[in-house]
Symmetry: C2
Subunit: 322 residues, 2 copies
């Protein structure tokens, strides 16, 4: 790869519960090199930083070394943009407060900016994705959990302490399903995540023991949102009901979010969006049904058009240009 | 009253469902003159504008005429800051879209700014009230309805179309109580308004026909949030339960709002706040209970310290200085 003296690249790092993706991005939003390592957060964080350096530094050298890099942008669960720390992230084993931006910045000798992983994804959508040109939108990640990034007037909403936009933890069903890692009841994440869809499937199959379903061909531990989708594609009634139920709750929650910030669009991404119209249709219907008159038929509900692994890297790297 | 050549005053007008309050405010936030007229929105809007002019113009003359006035700020239900129109306000009889800012501006020959009444109140809190010096807060009006104003980074959140912040219409109880004017079910306004408290009282008395209560001394049509408060003060168990129930729902909703924008404070005002600790305590408890860990014990929940009629005029007038 040629080094380009005047061209500054940005590095994007997305720290996930399982793996960490990283890449070098040019100013047009092309990922020119990328890789991943296991996050392995059960080990001390300095081991993670060393492993990352071992893989990422050769990539930096290949584009001309540090002088060709404008900075590092990082997304991580509970990443705080004000402090540069990961604070009490439920799905990472590092305990308490981890000064990750400081550690990375010292190791690489590059300016490093951290934010919440969902916020990073929203920045990626705004710069390169479905929200290009929009100043008011919300992104919702429907993955293992439910994340969110909120943009108002072209700016990420981070709140007074950096923690705004935890929409997966908003309560949608009073005294509803237990959310195991937080102990709360009836939050959106307990229903509209891959984990939630699996749970709904298990509950529906148990509640209707005599209803035939292709899902009964799987052992309970094999049921995932993916198997539910595959059964729905084959016309399975219970599988479709599972998505209808999920979409009804998700749509109602989205209506509430719209009545808060009145966005132009809501952009959905993450594993659950692979279910396509099975999840989109009931979600849209419930969203419109629950909106106050002035908001009806105004808000675009769309899937992200970015490749998932790309979106995470692009979003993180975009922090460098902000 | 002396005219002061260099001193510019602002006019604040608050259009409510029943009456319209207006006043002249000096730059320090002192209301130096004020009055009110019936809104009488069953008559054409130009009659309203004429009535307002008749009362307000002499007040303007007494401070030196138009040259002493920096402008007019107005708050109204469904007032749109972008268009200057009142659009489809449910509790006004004027139908459809009313170009009120244009009409007032023409009549008075003064620059006129309109916003949502709840947003105007939030601006008043930020300039003169409990939110002085804060950049991230939410105001919730607990009156006949439930209104809200959201401030993020020191700016009112109005969204892409000017309608953001309709938190009274967010759904808090799936398939819950019917909201008569919108037809929605389970929205916050159906429970946490004066109307909602009255409805809860009627339901609780009917559900527990054998439970003694001072509220049974009133005819159904006499029961208001005020009578419930008076009975609670006298130790009435059902009256207290009514506020506990209201506070539980309100607190849960507030938790959801906090997880959206992570504010420093939530400021409550409106008639229902006269219930003091009867409404504050259960609200605070439910709010903290439903918050995701990173938000707990961080957000101030307080009552407004502005006199209600003053707050409306001050908030509207503050738009002139924005």
């Amino acid at each position: 790869m040629n080094t380009t003296e005047n061209k500054k690249f940005a590095i994007g790092i997305d720290i996930g519960g399982t793996s960490t993706k990283f890449g070098i991005v040019d100013p047009e939003g092309n990922i020119i090199d990328q890789d991943r390592i296991p996050t392995a957060s059960e080990k001390p964080v300095n081991i993670f930083v060393d492993e990352l350096y071992k893989k990422l530094y050769p990539m930096i050298e290949s584009v001309g070394g540090n002088s060709a890099i404008a900075g590092i942008g990082m997304g991580a669960p509970n990443g705080n943009v004000y402090t540069g720390n990961i604070e009490y992230a439920a799905n990472l084993h590092w305990k308490g407060i981890v000064p990750i931006a400081h550690l990375i910045s010292e190791k690489f000798d590059l300016k490093t900016t951290l934010t919440n992983d969902a916020n990073a994804a929203a920045v990626g959508e705004m710069m390169y994705g479905a929200a290009k040109g929009m100043k008011h939108f919300i992104t919702i990640t429907l993955g293992t959990g439910v994340g969110s990034g909120i943009v108002i007037d072209g700016k990420m909403v981070v709140g007074h302490d950096g923690f705004a936009g935890e929409l997966g933890h908003t309560i949608v069903r009073y005294d509803g399903r237990l959310h195991k890692s937080t102990g709360s009841r009836g939050c959106l994440e307990a229903y509209a995540s891959a984990t939630g869809v699996r749970q709904t499937a298990i509950e529906f199959l148990a509640e209707k023991p005599n209803a035939p379903s292709l899902l009964r061909n799987f052992k309970e531990e094999e049921i995932t949102s993916q198997t539910v989708y595959e059964c729905a594609v084959q016309g399975d009634a219970i599988a479709k009901e599972i998505f209808d139920f999920t979409g009804e709750i998700l749509g109602e929650a989205l209506a509430n979010f719209i009545m808060f910030s009145s966005p132009q669009a809501i952009i959905l991404f993450g594993g659950l969006t692979k279910a396509g119209s099975f999840i989109m249709n009931p979600t849209k219907e419930a969203m419109e049904k629950n909106l106050y008159q002035v908001f009806k038929n105004k808000v675009q509900l769309v899937f992200s058009n970015l490749k998932e692994s790309d979106a995470a890297i692009l979003g993180a790297s975009a922090l460098v240009w902000e």
